[in-house]
């Protein structure tokens, strides 16, 4: 029913960008990127990407898909993996868990991929991990910063965890902001779990949590919260409200004079993409802690190389940024490549065993190492502050930071 045939598609997110050689699409279904040479005796290795190409976080999902295409092309151009070409299958999870499960099933049952990488929000990860890992018996790499506590076997996480984002960040915030923290949050699992950890670190460093609140995801009026922040003289707003509420929230805080009175905004998922949600003056001084910022390209040649390669292939509005899982995607694919090389084959158990302790020397922001037995990744962390619409690095970790999970 879905025979292979050359068939150029009109997928919009590729329009205007350099089309990678041999990019094809099957009749009904995902994007398939098939390299020009497919003469390996064992056939190609199949990698599946399941990410949000449409929906409110389409900017993140599209970036991840772009990074995947870039990395796979690099690997194929260098001769492939185990002398076999890699075929990339991309499915849209559409920010809709129901659609996502259906499309992920296609990757597993129809395309029979050897590995799936993807999911951005925790709810998406929770929805698709079962079809991939349990029912599909396939390896799953999750590339995004999240709340931790994901210890499912065969599920590897290559994005920052609360420990990595808070352990050095919060002491910096106390020193450069103040002791009184507010935790306004979106009401779902990531903020809930992150706040538990954050509160621990805040209080261990002498800070105080003045209030912790949860709002419906589409709430856009925060007058009550803003009033509480101002009247309690909060120093640091450790925010986990996400779009669409975060834009109005920061604006309302600014209008109430929070920044003028010396308050500090902190938001651990803020990267170059989210800078555009507000006007620059509304988020002046906002601090974030991620594994990569574009400004690192000035002094890190590896980061510069990766950023340049991405910008060349995918110029435009879809940015290579750490809050969108793009860096985690890069890291995850390279670690997986290393693991497959070590294992010598692609079957799940062998690769999982090798991936357990895989390392890469070159990644965005620095090298990365999986922690054996924990399925989480050590990486360098950076604290940055928004100044005039751009980030400035104000803190770097000494080495690779431990994720402290599982």
């Amino acid at each position: 029913m879905f025979s292979d045939h050359n068939h150029l598609s009109r997928r919009r997110f590729l329009s205007g960008l350099a089309v990678t050689s041999g990019a094809l699409a099957t009749g009904v279904g995902s994007w398939v990127v098939r390299p020009d040479w497919a003469n390996a005796a064992e056939g190609p290795i199949k990698v599946g990407i399941a990410t949000d190409l449409t929906g409110p976080i389409a900017y993140a999902g599209t970036a991840d898909a772009n990074v995947a295409k870039m990395v796979i092309k690099e690997i194929n151009d260098a001769g492939g993996l185990l002398s076999r070409p890699i075929e990339l299958y991309i499915e849209d999870t559409a920010s809709n868990e129901s659609v996502a499960v259906g499309n992920v099933r296609k990757l597993i049952q129809r395309d029979k991929v050897d590995m799936v990488l993807g999911g951005i929000t925790s709810s998406m990860r929770n929805a698709i991990k079962d079809p991939i890992v349990a029912r599909g018996k396939t390896l799953y790499i999750y590339p995004q910063l999240y709340e931790g506590k994901e210890c499912t076997p065969y599920l590897f996480c290559t994005g920052p965890t609360p420990a990595q984002q808070c352990d050095e960040f919060i002491p910096w915030l106390i020193k450069n902001g103040g002791k009184k923290f507010a935790l306004p949050s979106a009401n779902y699992v990531w903020p809930h779990t992150l706040n538990v950890y954050a509160r621990k670190v805040i209080e261990a460093n002498g800070g105080e949590v003045v209030f912790e609140e949860y709002y419906p995801l589409d709430q856009v009026d925060f007058s009550a919260t803003v009033n509480r922040v101002i009247s309690n003289k909060v120093d640091v707003v450790f925010n986990t409200v996400i779009p669409p509420g975060v834009g109005p929230f920061f604006k309302q805080l600014y209008e109430a004079g929070f920044l003028k009175n010396g308050g500090r905004l902190a938001c651990v998922y803020y990267d170059e993409n989210t800078l555009n949600i507000n006007q620059a003056n509304e988020i002046e001084g906002l601090a974030s802690c991620l594994d990569y910022f574009k400004t690192l390209t000035k002094d890190d040649p590896v980061s510069a190389k990766i950023q340049a390669a991405y910008d060349k292939d995918y110029p435009g509005k879809i940015l290579f940024a750490a809050g969108s899982a793009a860096t985690g995607t890069y890291r995850g694919l390279k670690l997986w490549e290393a693991a497959v090389k070590e294992a010598g084959k692609v079957d799940r158990d062998a690769v999982a065993a090798a991936l357990d302790h895989a390392k890469i020397a070159e990644g965005p922001g620095g090298p990365a190492e999986m922690v054996p037995g924990k399925r989480h990744c050590k990486m360098k962390m950076y604290t940055a502050v928004a100044k005039g619409g751009n980030y400035e690095i104000v803190g770097r970790s000494d080495g690779l930071v431990d994720p402290k999970e599982c």
Binding site: V28, T54, E97, R105, A127
Partner: protein, 363 residues
């Protein structure tokens, strides 16, 4: 109507006419019987295709087809409520989703996954919620306006969505993932042909039950309700009670569908309770043709099938096309696609009197 039985009879033109509906009471052939009955043909065809489908489809498409079957069951619940009782329920997803969440909690907290416990539980949850909501909205000193019921059900669905989204015990926006599969004894019922035939079987049974209901004396009262509510009240029928009963049955069916869906997909999330899902089922039925039962099933199949196919190639444009198609159907073919093949007479159905001894009393 008594039991659905097959009757082969020869029409005036000499062509054998296989009918799966009741036969006329006194054995004579009324004038309209000279025309071939289309409805049973449509039903039979659909059933035949449904039975044969897994044999020709790849695995993951069978899984998709199972989902469509479950959604058809859901659509059936709405057709019963709207097409036969005239209740515009914009919130059927409330019952669908609550049952889904209910069985998810049973599986997660109490580890109950046995099929003979969870499916009845799902139907029961749907029944209870619909009795509560229906009772509040429909019963009372003055009959409620249609708009009020529509708005009330819409608000119910919306409020449930917001509640589930905000309640951390129910998983908040993330919902409840990784629901263990349904079990029959010690065997797991997983997605694939097994689940497909299970869902299909349940759909057929519920479909026949609905047919039974709407072709009975009860159905006759409902037909009168649809035609002229005031007049039927003057006849002594408690119109509001009739409506509440139908609403409750619809809710139970929606709940059953919700339970099946939760175990099939393996997760539940607030959108299952919400407005978009509620209106989805309204659209299936409108498209297929309300008041025919099979129209709901066909509408679900067509819309889901076309969505699946088109959403890959025309992802950005498909929802717009869907909206335009629906608008066209509403404007020019309000009786739905089925009206292309089904005459008006057949649509309403016949409620012929049965020979003595075979009929039950009216409510």
């Amino acid at each position: 109507m008594g039991v659905a039985k097959e009757a082969v009879r020869v029409t005036a033109s000499g062509v054998p006419d296989i009918a799966m509906s009741e036969c006329e009471s006194d054995g004579t052939l009324p004038a309209q019987q000279t025309r071939r009955k289309v409805l049973p043909v449509v039903e039979g065809l659909t059933l035949a295709v449904a039975i044969l489908l897994p044999l020709v489809l790849q695995d993951y498409l069978t899984v998709f087809a199972t989902r469509v079957i479950i959604l058809s069951l859901f659509a059936l619940s709405f057709d019963l409520v709207w097409g036969y009782a005239g209740i515009m329920s914009f919130g059927q997803a409330l019952f669908f989703g609550s049952a889904g969440y209910g069985v998810a909690l049973l599986a997660r907290d109490l580890e109950i996954t046995a099929i003979f416990l969870v499916l009845p539980a799902a139907a029961l949850i749907g029944l209870i919620f619909s009795l509560l909501l229906g009772g509040f909205l429909l019963l009372g000193r003055y009959p409620s306006s249609v708009i009020f019921v529509a708005l009330g059900t819409l608000t119910g669905s919306y409020a449930a969505d917001r509640l589930a989204r905000g309640w951390y015990y129910l998983g908040g926006q993330n919902g409840i993932p990784s629901i263990s599969p349904m079990t029959l004894g010690s065997a797991e019922i997983t997605e694939g042909p097994v689940y497909y035939y299970l869902a299909l079987g349940i759909l057929v049974v519920v479909y026949l039950l609905c047919r039974f209901l709407v072709r009975s004396q009860f159905g006759l009262a409902l037909a009168g309700l649809r035609e002229n509510e005031q007049r039927i009240a003057f006849f002594g029928y408690k119109a509001q009670h009739l409506k509440a009963i139908v609403f409750a049955v619809g809710g139970a069916i929606a709940g059953l569908a919700g339970g099946l869906y939760a175990f099939h997909e393996g997760f539940v999330w607030p959108n299952m309770l919400g407005v978009v899902f509620s209106t989805q089922v309204v659209l299936y039925v409108l498209f297929g043709g309300s008041g025919t039962l099979i129209g709901a099933v066909i509408g679900a199949i067509i819309i889901e099938g076309v969505s699946f196919y088109l959403s890959d190639n025309y992802r950005d444009v498909w929802p717009i096309i869907l909206g335009v198609l629906l608008l066209l159907v509403i404007l020019f073919r309000p009786l739905g696609l089925i009206s292309f093949v089904l005459g008006e007479r057949e649509r309403v159905g016949s409620f012929g009197r049965k020979p003595k001894g075979r009929r039950h009393a009216a409510p």
